[in-house]
Every structure is written in structure tokens, then in C-alpha cells.
Symmetry: C2
Subunit: 928 residues, 2 copies
């Protein structure tokens, strides 16, 4: 393809129209020559319009960034020779220019689009705005990322008083024509004229009620005409504007509105939630209409090439006869299945339209092989002709996704590497979440469709606002809606689970919930809602706002109260994936953990050691906190030693347990880090209670706490600074560790220990403490008569440590970046205080991301680079790891991979994610 | 000279002794050849022994680092052909090896020293440890830096039961010989055997009292013999050791003790106070004795080539006939003057020993010309022969120093550049200190010698410990002592001024006080002290510990209570020096100031603008604090605007005043920086009071304060973060500034404004705020119909700002490093909290310096370098300044000079220091 063709300049007009109608393959050479000629005379701008369709296709899947997901897939399908209604795509770059600069189409834009329409007229043999054979269009958004239902779509564009008559005559179906017209008016008025869409819906509903009509199909052509005039009247009254009769006017305004819908609030929220870049823009796809509503030999539907909920290999989806696409997505009519396995109710595509089903099945197989993944396909059948309107990789729950990928691998469709690359690492999170264990004793209130698996417990709320409000108070909620719409997105984010009364497995709620990994039950039609009274009625039970229920997203059951949850069950595919990840990884993954439970969990999830064992966490446990307090408050060194000895016994036991579990993998033990005042209470009530418990004078205690308190504890007397002024605690910790290690070794087990000194800012500081620690280890070696293979390293968490990494590397056996604290000092952000301004920074796009979740490559990352370069210049093979929050974030990991770290350490639940992300980095690297 | 001769190895012994006695000049070539031969056969170590004296001298002033101050000066004087008693220097490197490795002399060392002694025996024609013509030695410390009285000295070494008799016979003066012996015993026992020296002194004092002797000279030879035996007896009893009779034994132990004295506590304290490196070590000078105590044609004295107190060109000093050096320095006998200008009491060197005076005067002139500075010379006259024992640059007060340097320049001895280089920048501090204004109404208690100028007010204390104790409570003290000794050094540091009852202008107290710039009065013999009762008796008044007195170090007066002080008087020489500094400077110096008083002062001291005008300081004044509080507590934006309008009026007036004073120089205005909670009270009492004053509900106020409070305010919601969430304050400030500037410009004055955005961490943040500020300036430009030349820059005080300096430089008109905050985040030190550990870090030499006083070159400096390189790569000529505390520190300035900053900004009182330091950097650079 010639991607360099640049259009849009008026000067190009003639040249463009001269080859638009031509077969691309034949005239490739000609085109190139002409372009070369052009480039000599005029300044070219970027190519903004890409055609697709059976006859002429310019884009492909490779232009996804430029054409959006939908546009590039339409081009790709065209290229595969599949039946796609012809059309063209306005690129995301066009969108960006539109949004940034002008916010409306200029004459030059319009001319270019008109030329594209002319081409469309040629290939369809219809004419836009024509009174005889009118070309009707769909205008759809299509961003690079999939944002289901987030942005706007208009169908049947081009209809007006004249063209509707032409359509009617052409199809010999007046009812069909006017039904299309009223659909267009509803969509256009809502999207472009910002008319409250429910006003027209209510009118229609009232009309049907008056007439005792059960469905739209009972409305006659004449009635639709009346309704259309009523709609137009209502639009004039409510918006003060006449509904436009000029088809071109309709087109220009529709394109502008769809571009602008990129920045509508629900789309912005969706992108924020998904961490997507808000400067990408959306493409717009303008496509000739095909009609699923031209009688019972027409239909529209959605099909998944495999079951996205279970991974089962069978077509899965829904369709409606004599309907247009939005009838399905909106979930207002309950559709038929593509394949119905139930014996009793055998209405499905296979039975109703067998030849169409056969064609569809073949197409599905072809697309799946081509895209190497389960596809989510939109199709329309117009008078027994099958058209494909969209295909995309299906959103599945992670269990299903794993099954499908390993199945496709077995089928020879994909490779091992494909498996690794096709899984979004964060989606593994859902695998590790708890599910419902036992429902014994809990009433099953009702059953809906199991739209997104997992168990969720929460208090019932009936609006997105309430969900947010409860969430702020840390109350988990279940959002219950008749059906969800994109406006509910924020409420869904803040819910544990979602329940809708209407809609099918491909309804808005179902799609979004699956993509978020939220348990979801849809189509629970046996229940009813009173939104005013805030009540939810089940057959046996009335539920009010705030009442607790449980959703089982895997079965579709709704249960009263909170049921027993169980730890996640990790199936065979999970472990296969982990093994596969290890096979393709260099960077090791360890865990941040210190309780035996967490350490066990970490090992189960595949951790190859502990990268951060925070010794002070052990001090906070209820049986120890008062001992460490007494130690801090000691007035003589003898007294202090007594309490240190008590702590020694406890800590040695803790270390023994942890070492035993993690053997033979290495364990990085960080010595005491927080300032001592963190162990003491700070409000008067707690202080009084402690004074009583410890039998000490209250005022003395207050004085001691005051003398320890600091203005900025984060930058205060903590970390290794404590050990410089007060070495006894470190000595106790090292002794406990050495002693535990000696015991483990004597039991014949293998273990490696890395003692990590926190908050180092200067090499002399590290030297002194290394000597101190080393001496204590030697003592234990003599006592236990055994060699203890302990290395001593520095936690690199201050800018100065990075800048002096060469000096530190001379003395340190290893480095471990503490990116939490490093981010705090590099930004000058106290994590505890960012609440006051960080959200503004993210909202105003000053920062793209929370630097405490994703590594800040430009600042923190730059310092890490400096440190690594300096350290390796002095000690080529120094082991360098990382133990900040960002160690479990896939984006950050791809940076850490480039940095050449030896290991990262993250919380146990992030380990599978990290392992997969790292394998992906390696594969990406291999390719580049 | 051949500096490469390496001795010390036993193999060198013969070669060494073969040429030690030879005339160096004649045999230079021979030596070289021999050395070359040697180097073929043996491995050479460093040369550790350097000879000096009229006949053979190896070192010179250039070897100061190796030979110490005294040793290199002795070599230099020998080289000039002056009469210096021959001897040799053990180098500082020898000291370091001694201290680090062995702490005692090995056989190899001893052999080398014995060879050097053999040489000394040849040139003096005496023999060490000889029973007929014994060679006696002085053993003196001599570090590279001058540390008056800080380390140990032993005279008359070599005396024992045998040699004392030989000396007695040789000099035909038994009394002389035994007096020397008892002096040796006193010094040796104290220095080497760690005998409490006061025990022997008290014995001697008691003896004289019993005998009713007024001075030592009344003690006969026979009596001295008895005293010597009593001394030895007392030493045995108190130390358990016999006083050594073997002269060699005496020598080895003396050398070791002097080396070790490098690390005695008072020397360590002194070096710490002066920021000197503690790893330099001291040289040891071993010199043949000359005797100032061989009768009245002998004398010992100290002479300054000019008056170190006034700078007047006339010999200034003191001497004692028939005495040894320590008699003067100790201040126990009041000596005669070298030149006495008073008519009535004409006992001076000129009248008592006229030919010696003439010779001394010529020597003084010669040395001053050679050293290009006023000299502080120790001399001894032995039976009408003048010997020079030491010369060094005299310590003068800064006024005197300036006068002397400009005089020497006029005399053609030195150049302009010499003037700039010979002044320690920090010494200018003393010029800027207040002095006594009026003594009206204050009783003059007594008058002593004006040893160090300036006025000091404080509470009387009688010990160093008390001085420190009072100082901790921030109570200024005057340290009063009968006479000071090096043990008092720490007390002197913590005093405003020093008063001693005994000692002359060159006594310990006088010398040290002058070097510290502390006002000092010495020799106030009319007063008396009862150290036990802690009382100070003047003729008319009893002063107790804690009573307040004033010292006038310029007149010697002691006054009751606190007298009125006046601002420093800056004489002509000061301004000459400033002009000279400007002539040799590139880096501009500005001031950190915001009150009209400070801004005026800054301009007077030579500031070329303001580099940091902290707008929030204006808010803290009593008439404003409640307005800003009301603004913070406002509940509606209208209410808030009311208070902002009030603040606007005040701030506009402030800016107007400041701009008017500083015109035409540039002013950098930093917009609001501290977090809002800093403006609110934090303890309950103040909160209650404020609630009452502002007539608001106490609980509401408490709630508001709580909601604003932060865990780590240093890393919190402050600086430009406030402006992102709450832009109104910045807008008000910029409006006030623009308005004030417009008025000044309309008055026909020139002014440049630089608006500085604090705490920037990201370029988008800066972009947004620059736009905001710029818009407000434009508004004012329209309102006042005048162009406002305001630039907008970023304060670089976070690591991330340094690392992203290229991005920031694209938008910022200028940068200013805020090294205070930058040091906090680079080290992870909260300045408010370092008290808990920084002293330990300095004490244990983990850090060489307080990074908040001197720039940390390795860490903070490295980041600055990165920032400057990145910024200049994008915007070559971007103006880059600095406004941290370190901007007034000479050491830091030499680094900033290398960095290529455009300006530094410091507190007004540091400006002269900074200017001089910068000129010195430039000269240094020019030379290199």
C-alpha cells in the first residue's frame, strides 16, 4: 500500500478524483508517479481519508493507530475479501487536528470528504442526498482502543423528507423507510442536537401503551410518519432548532459530533480508568448502510467465535431478526441465541436461517485463524446477504482467555509466544481474586445471566453517584440498574459487582464488567426496581438501599447477605502460563512479604525469593508492640537490652519460619526502617492507655513522644540513620537472622540471605554499618560453628545514593532500588499528603500517571539509569534489584527490563502479572 | 633542591651519612648521581626527614604541606640566610604513617633519626647525651595549618643527671642549667607522661610563697636542684613511672607524644571549628636549643612587623629578658614591649638592647617583603646573638588586615591580586558586626588590654562547660578566666566575648580570639576571680555568674550591663576591597531580602539585585497574618476575594518600596511557597485565641487546621502546587507586583522583575502557571498602558526539576537553584529534623560538612551539573542563578564558579564575603 499519499489540500482535488475510482492494484505505479510529480509543486499535508470495501481498500490492521480499531479491522476484512459495506475512515490525526485547532470542518475538509463520498457513490451505485436511489450512511466513532459504547454512532444518515420517500419506493416498503427515518432522527437529535433522548423514547412508549402495542413491529408506516412529525416538533420545542433536511448538513454536523464525542465525560472517565492516553483521538468510519430490518430474511447480530465466559469452542452470540444493530447492544429486546443447546426452546440462527448460519460459521473460523484469537463480530443480514460490520478480539474473562489460547495453540493456530503476548498481564488479577465458597444458609434471591465471573459482596445502591458516595466511606457496593448505560461507568468502577435486570450477555453492562474484571449478573428479569423509593423486589424479598447482597458472576445467582468466599482456584492453565513465562524471562521476580501466610502465597504464585522482608512489620504485631515500646522508652542500657533480648527470641522464630518456607530461594531482609515514634501512640487517649499498661508516668511518656516527634518524619531519623545513632536494634536483628539461618542450614536446607541497609545516602555510612553487621554475623558463625552465606547490600531510595552509586558499589554486595521513597524525594511528594493535589495534577494532565503506581521514567527512571551505569562501571556484576510498588506494574516492568535489573520484587498478588509482563518484554525485545 | 631523595630504609644508612655532613651546593651533582645509583638497587620509601639550618637546608615554603607551617618557615628562613638554630623536620606523612599504622617508632625510624641527630651534632659541634658538651633539643609540633597552642612542645630535651652537670660546667652557670632541667621535667612529664601539670606548678608556687619569693629569679641553683628531685618524686608517685634518664629514651617518647597530640581533643575541636581536614597530621621539628634564659644579655620574645590590632606600621610585640619562650606565651609574667611609645615607662627592647633591636627591625622588614604580609615572629637572644625560631603570617583583625594590605600595596610590596588573595573571605564577617555605640549610663568596671576588637554583651560564666550550657539555652555569654588555655577552646567558641585577668596581647586568649573574630579583653589585672564561689571582683562591684556585662574589645573596657550597640562602620578600605572584588569577578552577587531595611543593607554591601524576595515573609507581619488567615478560612469565593483585595493593597506597597530601593537592579520575586497551614496556629491556646479574634467557631477552626495539616509538609501541598489548586493568591501577588512596577516605571526609574515559580517538578506544571502569570501581567499592562519587562522562571529545588531541566528550559526564562530544598530531597534530610542525627554524622566523619551550610558537591552538585548541562543544551544563554544558604559560603562559591552560574544570592551580611570569594575563584582560575 502506498501510505504516503497525502490529500486534503484543494490542489490535490483533481488528482484525487482522477484515481479514486480506479482499481488500486493496476494503477499503483501510476499513482506513485503522480504523487512524485505533485510533491515537486505543492506542499503536501497528511493523508486523512482511507477507503475500504470490496473494491478499493487503502488501510490494513497495521494502521490501527491511524484508523482506529474499527476502521483498521474493516480495512483488514476488506483485504481478506470478506463482505464489508464499502466506506471510508477519517483518521485519528484528522480528529486531533479537528479538536485542537478548529472544532469544525472547513471548506477544504468538506471538499475532500465530498470526493470520498463520490467514490462511495460509484462503488455502491447510489447517490447521496438523491431523490431516487439515495446512499444512506452510518457514521461511527472508532478509537484505537476499544471503548464499547463510550462514544457516539449515527445510523441511516442521509434520510430526509425526500430521500425517505425514495427509499420507500426503492424497497417498496414504506414502513421500513419511515422506521429508519425515525431511528435516524432519534440518534441524530441525541448525538448532534443534544436532545434528551428519553423524551422521544417516552413519547414512543406512551404511544404504544395507548395503542396497546406490545412491540415496535405493530406500528404501521402511516403511524411512523406521524411519529416522525411529532419527533421533529418535539425537537424544535426542546432545542429551538429545526431538524436538518439537507443530507450534507447532516453529514458535516454528524462528523463533528462524533469527533467531539472523544472528549465526552464518560469516554474521558473510561480512558482514565484504563490508563489510556487521552491524546489519541478517535477515527470516524463513514460506511454505506446495510439493513437488518428489511423483514424476516434480514437480521442483525453479534457473534463470538468461542464462548467468552467459559472458553468453550462453540459459536456464542445473539441476533434479532428484522432489527438494526442498536436494538441488540441497547439490550431493549431480548434476542435469540446463535446456537441454542437447550432442547426445549430451539429458536436460534442455526434453525431460523440455516444457510446464513453456515456462512457465518465459516467466516468465524476464517477470522479466528487470521486474527489468532477469539473474535467478537457484528454482522447484518440484509435479505439473505451476510455483511460484516466489525470484528475485534473478544473480551473474555481471564480463565476463558487462557483456555482459548492454549486450545488455539493445540490447534496449531498460534505459538507459545502468541499465548504470552495475547494476555494483558493485569487481567491475571482476576484469577487471583476470591470467589464464592459456600452458599449454605444464604437465600438465593434470583438468578440472572452469568456475565462476568467471580463473587462480589456489597451494599445495594441504585445510582452511580451513590456508588461513589458509599465508596468514599470505604463501603463496598453492588450497583443495581434496570440496564446500564455509558453514564454508569463511574459507578461501575466504584462497585464490587454489577446487577442489571435487562440485557443479554453482550449488553453494555456485561461487556464493560468483563473488561474491568468485575463480577456481573445481567438480565435478571424476575426482579423489579423502584428507583424513587430505592427498592429492589425479588419474588421472596424486598431489598432496600444499603442492604447487603452477594453476586455470583459465575452462575448468575443473587444471594441475600454476605456469603463465604474462598481463595482463588488456580487451574492448570494458570500454572502452564507461569511456566511459559519463566521460559521466556530473564528478570527474576521476588515477593515483598514477611508473614508466613504471605510468604507461602508468594511461593505458590511463583516467586523466586523474597526481595523485601520488612523486619519492622513483625514489631507491630500485638504481642510485640509493647515490648518494642518498652525498649524505646528504656532509661538504662541494661533495661533496653532486656527488651531487645525478648524481641530477639520472637524475631528469630519469625525468621526461622520464613526461611524454612522460602528455602532454597534468596531472601532480602531489610533492617529496621521507620522512625521510632511510629511505634508510639500519638493521641492522648492511646497515650494514657499505654502509660497505664506499661505502668509509666503519663507526662514522662508524653515528653518522650514529643522529643521523638519530627516535622517531616519521611526525611527524618529513620532507616540506617537509626543504626548510626542507635546500633543495638540492628545488631539484635542480625543476630536473630544469623541464628535462624544457622538452624535452617543445620537442618540440611539451602538458603541465601541478603541483609539490606535502608535509606543509605553516603558510602561511609554504609561502610560503618556493613562492618557492624558483618561483625555480628561473624559472632554467630563462631557460636554456631557454621559458615553463613550472607551478603550485605544497600537499599537505593534517595537521590544521593543514586548519584554516588559508584562509591557505594565499591562496598555493597548488591543494590535494591526502593522506588517508593525514591519517587517521594525525586518529586518532593509525600505519599501521605499527595491526596491534596495529586488528583488535580492527574485531572489537568500535568502528570500522566500516579508516580507511585507507575514508574516515572523521565525523573526517577533517569536517576536509576545514572545509578546503574555508575555502579556497573565500578562493579560490573553487582546484583541490582527493585522492591517498590511499581515492581508489579507491567508498564513499569518494561522499563525495568530495559534498565537491565536482575530482579524485581512485588506483593505476592502481583507476581503472576509481573512474570507475564516480563516475558512479554523479552519477546518484544527479541523482535526488535 | 632534590626533593626526590628518599631515605628511611636501613640500606640507605651509609649513603645518607656519607653526604649529610657535606655542603649541599658543592655536592649537588654527586648526590644526584648517588641517588640514581641507589634507585637501581633498592626499593625506596618516601623521604621523611628534612634538614634546615644555616649550613644545610632541604625544604622550603613550597613544602608546607609536608613540613608543616613551622617547619617550612624554618627551612625558608634558613634558605634566606637568616640565623635559625639548625634542626630537622619529621614530615606530616611520617606522622600519618605513625598514627595510622604503628603508633610507635620502629628500629628503622630510630636509625634514621639518629643519623639526622649525628648531622646536627656535626653542625653544632655538640653531642647528644654527652657528658661534656651536650646537644639539647626542642621538640615541637608544627601542622600545616596554624593551630596556636593546640599541640605539644617540649624544650631542653636531652637533660638528665649527667648532662645537666655538663651544661652547668660548660656555661659556668649552675642555676641556669638546673632551671632548664626543671622546665624540661615540667614539660616532658605533662606532655609525655600525662602528669597533671598543675601539681608541679602548685608545688613551685607554694615553695615561693613559703620563701616569700616574688619571682622565679630569686630561686637559687641549689634550690632548683631540690625542686627537681621533688618533681621527680612527685612524678613517680602520681604516674608510677620513673622520669627517664636516657636522652634517647626521652627523644623517642617525645616524638611519639607530639605526633599523638595531633589527635588530642582540643586540637580536634579546633580543626572542626575551622573546618580543617583532620587527616593532614602534624610535622615535628627537632631543633638545637638556643637559650633566652642565659642572663640579661639573653631574652625571648614575639614581634609583629606591624600592629595586628590597628594595622599601624610599627614593630609591635613583647619580650622577656632571661626567659624561655613559654614564659611569654603562657602569660604568667607580664613582659616588656618591643617598642613603647609611652613617655613615662620607656622600658622596651629599643632602650634595653638597642643593637639587638636594630638587627630585629631589619629582619622584620626583610621577612615582610619576602612573605608579602605582616609577620608574627618568635625570636630568642642568646648572649647578644639573635636567633629566629619561627615566623608566620600574623593573625590580625580584619580592619587591620585591610589597612596593612592596602599599605603594602602602596609600598609596592604586593599587587592588587595579592590583596584579594590574602583575605580569608569569612573574616569580613567581623567588619559587618555591630560595635559599641554609646556607653552613657553604663558603669565602666575596669579596663584591660584591647586584644580583639568589637563589642560583646553576655552573661558572665567562669568555665567552658558553663559557656556551652548557657549557649544551648540561647543565652549569650562572656567567658571570664584568669588566663585561658587550649582546654578553653570550646568555651570560647560558644561565647560572645572573652575576658582574661592575666596575659598580654599575644597570650593564648588574645591570639585565638582574634582568629575567631571574638571581641576579647586580656590582662585585666585589677580584677579577681573566685572560681569556687563563681564571683568576679572589680574594685567597685561584685559580679556573679549569670550577671550581664559588656566587653569593648577595641578599647579594653569592661562595662556593667548591656550597652547600646551600633551598626558596623565600613571604612574606606572595605569599599576599596569591594570595588577590587568586582573588578575581578564575573559571577554576580545578589541578596536574599524582602524588608526595606534588609534591601537597603544589601545594596549598601554591594548587592547587584535581589535573587530571592520571599513574598510570604510579608504575610507573617502582625498586621497581615490575620488577613491571610481569614482568607484561608473563607467559605465563599467572594469572602476570599475580599481578603485577597486587602492583601493586594499591602503587598503592592511592599513591592513598591523594595523596587524603589533596588532600582535599577533586577529583583527575583518568588511567589507564595509555604503550605497554608503554616499561617495557622497549632496549639490549642493559640487556636482558641484566634477563634476569638476572628469571631469564628473554635471547633470549625480546629477542623480546618486538621484538614490542612500534613504528615510531611516539606513534601506536601506547597509551592506552585498551591497555585495549581488555588491560583487566586498567585494572581493577587502578580497583580500587586505588576502594579508596583508600573508605578516605578512611570516615575522614570529603571527596574527588572523576574517572577519565580517555586517547587516546580514538571514542565507542564510550569507551562500552566507561566500562562496564568503572563495573563495577569498583560492585564496590568493594559490597565497601566505600559510595557512591563517581567521574565518568568523556575526555582530548581527538586531532583526531578534537575533531571527534566531540558524540558523546563524550553519554557522558563531563567532558573534559580534553591539549594536548601534541593539538599533536603537529595539527602532525604528534613532540615528541621537533622538535629537528631546530623551531629553524629559529622562527629563520626560520615559527612565532612553540614550540607545545608556548604554545598554537597558529590550529590547535590552532581544534580546541578546535570541540570545546567541539560538546560544549556536546549537554551544556550538561559540565565541560571542560585539562592540557597550556600550562596554565601566561600567553599561552595568556588564550586558554583566552576559550574558557570550567572549569579548567586545570599543574605545581605554574606554579600561582601561572597564577592571576595568569587574574585578569589577567578584569580585561581586565571592562574590555572
Amino acid at each position: 500500500m502506498n501510505k504516503d499519499i497525502r490529500l486534503q489540500e484543494p490542489e490535490n482535488k483533481k488528482i484525487l478524483s482522477s484515481f479514486l475510482g480506479l482499481n488500486q492494484k493496476k494503477h499503483k505505479k501510476n499513482q506513485k508517479e503522480k504523487i512524485n510529480d505533485m510533491s515537486k509543486n505543492i506542499s503536501l499535508t497528511k493523508k486523512y481519508i482511507y477507503h475500504f470495501g470490496p473494491e478499493f481498500t487503502e488501510g490494513s490492521l497495521e494502521e490501527k493507530k491511524l484508523l482506529g480499531n474499527k476502521g483498521s479491522n474493516l480495512a483488514e476484512m476488506s483485504r481478506l475479501g470478506l463482505q464489508v459495506p464499502p466506506g471510508f475512515t477519517l483518521t485519528t490525526e484528522f480528529c486531533n487536528v479537528f479538536l485542537q485547532k478548529k472544532q469544525k470542518l472547513n471548506e477544504c475538509d468538506k471538499k475532500s470528504i465530498k470526493q470520498a463520498i463520490e467514490h462511495l457513490e460509484k462503488v455502491t451505485n447510489k447517490k447521496f442526498n438523491d431523490k431516487k436511489n439515495p446512499l444512506l450512511l452510518s457514521v461511527r466513532s472508532g478509537a484505537t482502543i476499544s471503548m464499547p459504547g463510550m462514544m457516539d454512532t449515527i445510523l441511516n444518515l442521509g434520510l430526509n423528507e425526500h430521500t425517505v420517500k425514495a427509499l420507500s419506493e426503492l424497497c417498496n416498503d414504506e414502513r421500513f423507510a419511515w422506521d429508519n427515518y425515525r431511528r435516524f432522527i432519534q440518534m441524530y437529535s441525541s448525538v448532534v442536537m443534544k436532545m434528551n433522548s428519553s423524551l422521544l423514547e417516552v413519547y414512543l412508549e406512551d404511544y404504544k401503551n395507548q395503542k396497546n402495542y406490545f412491540s415496535d413491529s405493530e406500528i404501521s408506516a402511516e403511524e411512523w410518519k406521524q411519529i416522525v412529525y411529532q419527533f421533529k416538533e418535539s425537537i424544535l420545542q426542546n432545542t429551538g432548532q429545526l431538524f436538518p433536511e439537507d443530507s450534507w448538513e447532516q453529514l458535516w454536523t454528524a462528523i463533528s459530533a462524533v469527533f467531539k464525542s472523544w472528549n465526552n465525560p464518560r469516554a474521558v472517565t473510561y480512558r482514565k480508568m484504563n490508563g489510556e492516553n487521552s491524546s489519541d483521538g478517535t477515527a470516524v468510519n463513514i460506511q454505506s448502510m446495510v439493513f437488518g430490518n428489511r423483514g424476516n430474511n434480514s437480521a442483525t447480530g453479534v457473534v463470538f467465535t468461542r464462548n467468552p465466559s467459559t472458553g468453550e469452542k462453540s459459536l456464542f452470540g445473539e441476533f434479532l431478526q428484522n432489527a438494526q444493530g442498536e436494538d441488540i447492544v441497547a439490550g431493549t429486546r431480548t434476542p435469540f441465541l446463535i446456537v441454542n443447546t437447550k432442547q426445549n426452546d430451539k429458536k436460534d440462527l442455526k434453525t431460523l436461517m440455516p444457510s446464513m448460519f453456515k456462512e457465518l460459521k465459516e467466516l468465524c473460523a476464517k477470522l479466528e485463524r487470521h486474527y489468532k484469537f477469539v473474535q467478537d463480530i457484528e454482522f447484518t443480514i440484509e435479505q439473505n446477504k451476510l455483511w460484516l460490520l466489525q470484528t475485534r478480539n473478544a473480551k473474555c474473562n481471564i480463565q476463558a482467555q487462557l483456555k482459548i489460547l492454549f486450545d488455539l495453540y493445540k490447534e496449531g493456530v498460534i505459538t507459545e509466544e502468541d499465548i504470552l503476548q495475547k494476555i494483558e498481564p493485569n487481567s491475571l488479577n482476576n484469577l487471583l481474586l476470591p470467589s464464592i465458597d459456600s452458599k449454605d444458609g444464604n437465600t438465593v434471591l434470583a438468578k440472572g445471566l452469568p456475565a462476568s465471573p467471580g463473587g462480589a459482596i456489597g451494599k445495594v445502591v441504585f445510582s452511580a453517584e451513590k456508588a461513589v458516595e458509599y465508596n468514599k466511606k470505604s463501603l463496598p457496593v453492588i450497583l443495581v440498574r434496570a440496564e446500564t448505560s455509558p453514564e454508569d461507568i463511574n459507578g461501575m468502577i466504584h462497585s464490587e459487582g454489577i446487577l442489571t435486570l435487562r440485557g443479554g450477555m453482550t449488553s453494555h453492562a456485561a461487556v464493560v464488567a468483563r473488561s474491568m474484571g468485575r463480577p456481573c449478573v445481567v438480565g435478571c428479569e424476575s426482579a423489579d426496581i423502584d428507583e424513587v423509593k430505592k427498592e429492589l423486589f425479588f419474588k421472596s424479598q424486598l431489598i432496600k438501599e444499603g442492604d447487603e447482597i452477594t453476586l455470583d458472576g459465575s452462575t448468575g445467582e443473587i444471594l441475600l447477605g454476605a456469603v463465604k468466599m474462598k481463595a482463588p482456584y488456580l487451574d492448570e492453565n494458570f500454572f502452564k502460563l507461569m511456566n511459559l513465562s519463566d521460559k521466556y524471562s530473564k528478570l527474576q521476580v521476588r515477593a515483598n512479604a514477611e508473614t508466613p501466610t504471605d510468604v507461602k502465597k508468594a511461593k505458590e504464585f511463583g516467586a523466586k525469593g523474597l526481595g523485601l522482608c520488612r523486619t519492622e512489620h513483625m514489631f507491630f504485631e500485638s504481642d510485640r508492640i509493647n515490648i518494642i515500646r518498652k525498649m524505646i522508652l528504656s532509661e538504662s542500657s541494661e533495661e533496653r537490652q532486656t527488651f531487645l533480648n525478648q524481641l530477639f527470641v520472637m524475631q528469630e522464630r519469625d525468621f526461622y519460619d520464613i526461611l524454612k518456607i522460602m528455602s532454597p530461594y534468596p531472601i532480602t531482609v531489610r533492617l529496621l526502617d521507620p522512625p521510632l515514634h511510629e511505634f508510639l501512640p500519638h493521641n492522648l487517649k492511646d497515650i494514657e492507655k499505654l502509660a497505664e499498661t506499661l505502668e509509666i508516668d503519663k507526662n514522662k511518656l508524653i515528653f518522650k513522644i514529643k522529643s521523638l516527634s519530627e516535622s517531616n518524619p519521611m526525611l527524618g531519623h529513620r532507616g540506617c540513620r537509626l543504626a548510626i545513632t542507635f546500633p543495638e536494634i540492628y545488631l539484635m536483628q542480625v543476630k536473630a537472622l544469623s541464628s535462624a539461618m544457622a538452624k535452617i542450614l543445620k537442618e540440611g536446607k539451602k538458603i541465601q540471605i541478603e541483609v539490606m541497609i535502608p535509606l543509605v545516602c553516603e558510602s561511609k555510612e554504609f561502610e560503618i554499618l556493613k562492618k557492624l553487621v558483618h561483625k555480628e554475623i561473624q559472632k554467630s558463625e563462631e557460636d554456631f560453628k557454621i559458615k553463613l552465606p550472607i551478603t550485605i547490600g544497600a537499599m537505593i531510595e534517595l537521590p544521593r545514593a543514586c548519584l554516588l552509586a559508584d562509591e557505594l558499589a565499591k562496598h555493597a554486595d548488591f543494590f535494591s532500588f526502593g522506588t517508593n521513597d525514591l519517587s517521594q524525594t525525586v518529586f518532593g511528594f509525600s505519599r501521605d499528603d499527595t491526596g491534596k493535589f495529586l488528583s488535580s495534577y492527574l485531572h489537568e494532565n500535568i502528570l500522566d500517571q500516579d508516580p507511585f503506581s507507575k514508574i516515572d521514567v523521565k525523573g526517577v527512571g533517569e536517576l536509576m539509569k545514572i545509578a546503574i551505569t555508575k555502579a556497573r562501571a565500578v562493579k560490573k556484576d553487582i546484583k541490582i534489584g527493585l522492591c517498590g510498588e511499581q515492581g508489579g506494574d507491567p508498564d513499569s516492568l518494561s522499563f525495568f527490563h530495559i534498565l537491565g535489573l536482575d530482579y524485581v520484587s512485588c506483593s505476592p498478588y502481583r507476581i503472576p502479572i509481573a512474570k507475564l509482563a516480563i516475558a512479554q518484554c523479552n519477546l518484544k525485545n527479541k523482535r526488535n
